[in-house]
């Protein structure tokens, strides 16, 4: 392997295969390794200036800096192979060791053959996101498991490790300090299959974070490191995206939909032959206008199962979660979208859609208009489909984001929590409390008088009696007596059914639930909801903004 780039900053430094037995610990294989010539080259280039002052006194200050660096040109250096072998000996749990700025990660060793323990250890550059540490440990376990399986099948590991060990013993390339050199690894690479497999694993992690090989052409090993598989627009702003991907189930909602990030045919082809039947059905049914609940109903698969499939596809960086595409959706340009002329994305866009102008299309989305307003009914069918395809393409690359309507309960002169808050903070403020009590009593008086006025109309009185119940609901949402009074006042002219529906929906009117979620959760129709909102518009504020759900917010680049 040659030193491709001088400033290689890839996180994976090396994969190590370590054995530990009665004869001590051995590093059986390491990839990538350094050739003797390269090390020499490096030593020459890093020669110190002839004019540098050599000081012996400031030893303490430069204690670390004078030591050998652990990472040189993206390769693991500074620790020789015997040291590495000793370091990576397994304690009884997952290995998580950090020396200066190098992480060593491995799993609990399960590979014990004839009193010899084998372990796959990854050497990585720090810092690493927390979930990535777990990922590498899981990958180490996955590799160990498939090796164990192949060992029981055909004694693969015994055979291969013996070959590696013999090679090491034969080619004792030992330098003047009695340290084993790497050059034997390059010899063994051509002859040993396990070494080749480790090389392939390294290279596929480097390529896109997806490992898919057959150990000894037999046991299938496929694994994904999502933090490498996803290409993210603004890495530092979304530093927690890996956590989000790992806990995707927490954020999934049945009214969400998906867009595939690869072509459907490609994805179907990539599925292993023994893949879940539901998963296959789901991908074949794929349509960006469906919600997950729709898929569940159409395919007759329980929603939990759909969630599991989607989570799986999210983990493998195959889908992006969106709201199902509908003509009522409002889209705007993502603040992170790339607008510079002649960039890769604008050229790709032109190639994909008949030389259409990326920037012209984006300018259409500048004013937060509904999709239906952008679609001209006079267009031929093909143009219509193409425009929807453009929207899908832009959604896949997170160029567009969607706005949703959120609702706030806001009666006139609403004070919300201020009353409650003031009451707690200022107990001495007696006059305030008195006033409050006074207002309550006035309210009761009002209620009484209302009742007395309506004595002739018994039916009406009965229908309005559930105010107490409403009061309880509103108090739960920390709405003060005074505000409740305003709300009840507004109720006077409304019909009983409307009031009941309104009160049912009150918990959603705090700006955390958009119309889509209310429609799904309360199983009411869009038109009913909008009619209701219109009837109570004096009490409500509508505000539109992006869904804060982090799954929706992941900005993917393809």
């Amino acid at each position: 392997m040659d030193l491709k780039s001088q400033n290689d900053s890839f996180e994976l430094l090396a994969i190590l295969l370590v054995s530990q037995g009665s004869s001590g610990s051995h590093l059986l294989f390491k990839y990538p390794f350094t050739d003797q010539g390269q090390i020499k080259n490096f030593k020459q280039t890093s020669k110190k200036s002839a004019y540098s002052i050599i000081s012996t006194e400031n030893r303490n200050l430069s204690l670390l800096d004078r030591e050998q660096k652990s990472i040189v040109n993206g390769l693991l250096c500074g620790l020789n192979n015997d040291v590495l072998a000793n370091l990576c000996q397994s304690i009884n749990e997952q290995l998580e060791l950090k020396i200066d700025n190098v992480f060593f990660l491995g799993c609990k060793s399960i590979l014990k053959i004839n009193q010899v323990t084998f372990n796959i250890v990854f050497a990585l550059r720090s810092p690493l996101p927390r979930p990535a540490i777990r990922c590498y440990q899981m990958l180490s376990l996955a590799i160990s498991k498939s090796l164990l399986k192949e060992e029981t099948n055909s004694g693969y590991l015994t055979h291969q490790s013996k070959m590696l060990q013999d090679f090491l013993d034969e080619h004792q390339n030992i330098d003047e300090n009695n340290r084993r050199l790497d050059s034997s690894f390059s010899d063994v690479l051509d002859k040993c299959q396990l070494a080749q497999e480790i090389k392939i694993i390294y290279e596929s992690i480097r390529k896109d974070g997806v490992v898919d090989i057959s150990v000894n052409n037999c046991v299938n090993l496929s694994f994904c490191l999502p933090h490498l598989a996803y290409k993210i627009l603004d890495k530092c702003e979304q530093s927690n995206f890996v956590e989000v991907i790992f806990s995707a189930s927490k954020y999934l909602e049945p009214y969400f939909g998906i867009v595939l990030l690869t072509k459907r045919e490609e994805l179907v082809r990539a599925l292993p032959s023994n893949s879940n039947l539901y998963c296959r059905m789901f991908i074949e049914k794929y349509n960006p206008v469906y919600s997950l609940a729709n898929y569940s109903a159409e395919l007759d698969i329980p929603i939990k199962e759909i969630y599991a499939i989607v989570e799986h596809l999210i983990y493998w960086a195959k889908v992006k979660v969106i709201y199902p595409i509908s003509e009522n959706n409002f889209y705007i340009i993502n603040p992170n979208a790339q607008l510079r002329i002649n960039t890769k994305i604008s050229i790709e866009f032109g190639d994909e859609f008949d030389n259409a102008s990326y920037h012209y299309v984006l300018s259409l989305f500048s004013e937060a208009r509904a999709l239906s307003d952008l679609l001209d009914p006079r267009w031929p069918r093909e143009k219509h489909t193409m425009f929807i395809n453009i929207v899908i393409w832009l959604l896949q690359r997170s160029v567009l984001i969607q706005l949703h309507d959120y609702l706030f309960l806001m009666p006139k002169k609403f004070e919300h929590q201020r009353l409650a808050c003031d009451k707690i903070s200022k107990l001495s403020d007696v006059s305030y409390d008195e006033e409050n009590e006074c207002s309550i009593s006035r309210l009761e008086c009002g209620a009484c008088s209302e009742n007395s006025n309506d004595t002739e109309n018994a039916d009406y009185r009965n229908s309005t009696l559930c105010y107490d119940e409403f009061r309880e609901i509103l108090s739960d949402f920390k709405i003060s007596e005074k505000d409740q009074q305003h709300i009840f006042k507004a109720f006077e002219v409304k019909s009983e059914a409307d009031i009941k529906l309104f009160m049912r929906l009150v918990p959603y009117f705090n700006g955390m639930y958009n119309i889509e979620s209310i429609v799904y959760k309360e199983q009411i129709s869009w038109s009913d909801l909008y009619t209701l909102l219109d009837k109570f518009k004096d009490l409500l504020f509508v505000s539109s903004y992006e869904d804060p759900n982090p799954l929706i917010r992941i900005n993917i680049r393809i």
């Binding site: 670390l64 020396i99 530092c236 609403f414 201020r418 808050c421 705090n510 903004y545």
Partner: protein
């Protein structure tokens, strides 16, 4: 729902759980000499990881972090060679113990510094090999742990009455690099001036700090204080790094702002509401604005509505709301974000340049940036755009 999203960002408690002083005993091998508080690491756990705490000589002077059970242990083993020691060698390591989920990166420098300080003490006055002096160590360990956990700093002077001995430790949080300051940005204080001692800063920064009022752009501040713009930018970036200021976009009558999902937080957080009422009151003599009015005005900001439209419709003065301050409050709290116009010329870049003046629209420049970099007004850009049919405008 919002709360769940926020917990992701919160760090787990990153306090030091214990300090352990280990050394290599000639008879017993690696052992724990002192532990404060006692019995966090038991003998069995220690034995399983002792090869990382008192490692072979090739791992000396390296920061070694090992995770075991529910703990993460960070140490810096020191080897001292001298004929006065038995076997001519003395090995010690003062380890910090954390919870296994702690991010120990910011502690690494402290671990190393403390180890080096102890090494100096040992070399100069045999602090670790003289029983009379060594008995002070547990107390020092306790003090280091308490002070670092409480204030992030620890200063111990005249250790065990030794002349010229001192330990200075400071925990430096790992910051991200502050973003580049642009001429059209507006610096705003996010901490009150009394919280930091401005007299300690350099003269340029002092001048700039006195000029920041929350509405002046960087270029205006540079002009007013007569400081070269690149120097001013650097000073402001410095303040940004220290978390004293935040940068917000410029607020003009023609600016557009949109609400963000954090407005739901504003609706339910009464503390934020009373802050806003205090901050945005226009006339201190009159009755303060109500939450209802503020929320209504805030809710008017959306696509296609410029600040002047909001003023016309919302009539903030009558409601005793200072609209500029309300926007500023919204920007700082993340309730609002600015959306900008990006003119993009679709024709070849060369042609658009020769056609009219020498301003070009490469796509990633918004109005604010074009204005401040070319020193022209928005009106002038719009005039030029009117002439050029090949320019589209994207708003993001």
């Amino acid at each position: 729902m919002i709360e769940i999203f926020q917990t992701l960002d919160q760090n787990v408690t990153d306090k030091i759980l214990a300090l352990v002083f280990c050394e290599f005993d000639i008879d017993e091998g690696p052992k724990i000499k002192y532990q404060k508080p006692n019995d966090v690491i038991n003998k069995q756990t220690f034995d399983s990881i002792s090869s990382y705490i008192i490692p072979k000589v090739y791992l000396k002077n390296k920061i070694i972090t090992i995770t075991v059970g529910k703990y993460r242990i960070c140490g810096f083993p020191i080897y001292l060679e001298h004929i006065k020691y038995k076997r001519n060698m003395y090995i010690f390591n003062l380890c910090f113990i954390f919870d296994k989920n702690t991010n120990t990166c910011s502690y690494e420098a402290v671990v190393k510094k403390l180890a080096c300080d102890l090494r100096t003490l040992e070399v100069e006055s045999e602090f670790l090999n003289n029983e009379n002096l060594k008995q002070h160590l547990p107390k020092i360990m306790e003090q280091v742990q308490n002070n670092l956990n409480e204030t992030g700093e620890c200063i111990i002077q005249r250790i065990a009455n030794l002349e010229h001995s001192a330990i200075f430790l400071k925990l430096i949080k790992n910051h991200l690099d502050p973003r580049l300051v642009q001429s059209c940005d507006v610096p705003v204080f996010v901490r009150s001036k009394s919280e930091f001692e401005i007299d300690d800063w350099d003269l340029t920064t002092q001048k700039i700090v006195s000029s920041i009022n929350g509405f002046k752009t960087v270029s205006l501040i540079a002009k007013e204080t007569n400081i070269e713009s690149s120097v001013a930018k650097e000073a402001i970036q410095n303040l940004l790094y220290s978390d004293i200021i935040r940068l917000v976009p410029i607020i003009q009558y023609s600016s557009m702002f949109v609400r963000t999902s954090l407005i739901a937080k504003f609706y339910s957080n009464s503390e934020l509401q009373s802050d806003a009422i205090k901050f945005c009151q226009f006339d201190k003599e009159r009755e303060p604005p109500t939450f209802y009015d503020m929320f209504m005005v805030l809710n008017m900001f959306s696509h296609g509505f410029m600040v002047k439209n909001v003023i016309e419709l919302g009539n903030p003065i009558e409601k005793n709301i200072d609209i500029k301050k309300l926007i500023l409050f919204g920007l700082i709290q993340g309730l609002l974000r600015k959306i900008n116009k990006y003119p993009i010329s679709l024709s070849d870049s060369q042609r658009s340049k020769t056609e009219s003046s020498n301003i070009c629209f490469p796509g990633d420049y918004n109005y604010d940036k074009i204005c401040s970099e070319n020193g022209i007004s928005i009106k002038k850009i719009e005039d030029q755009l009117d002439e050029d049919p090949n320019v589209v405008i994207c708003i993001k």
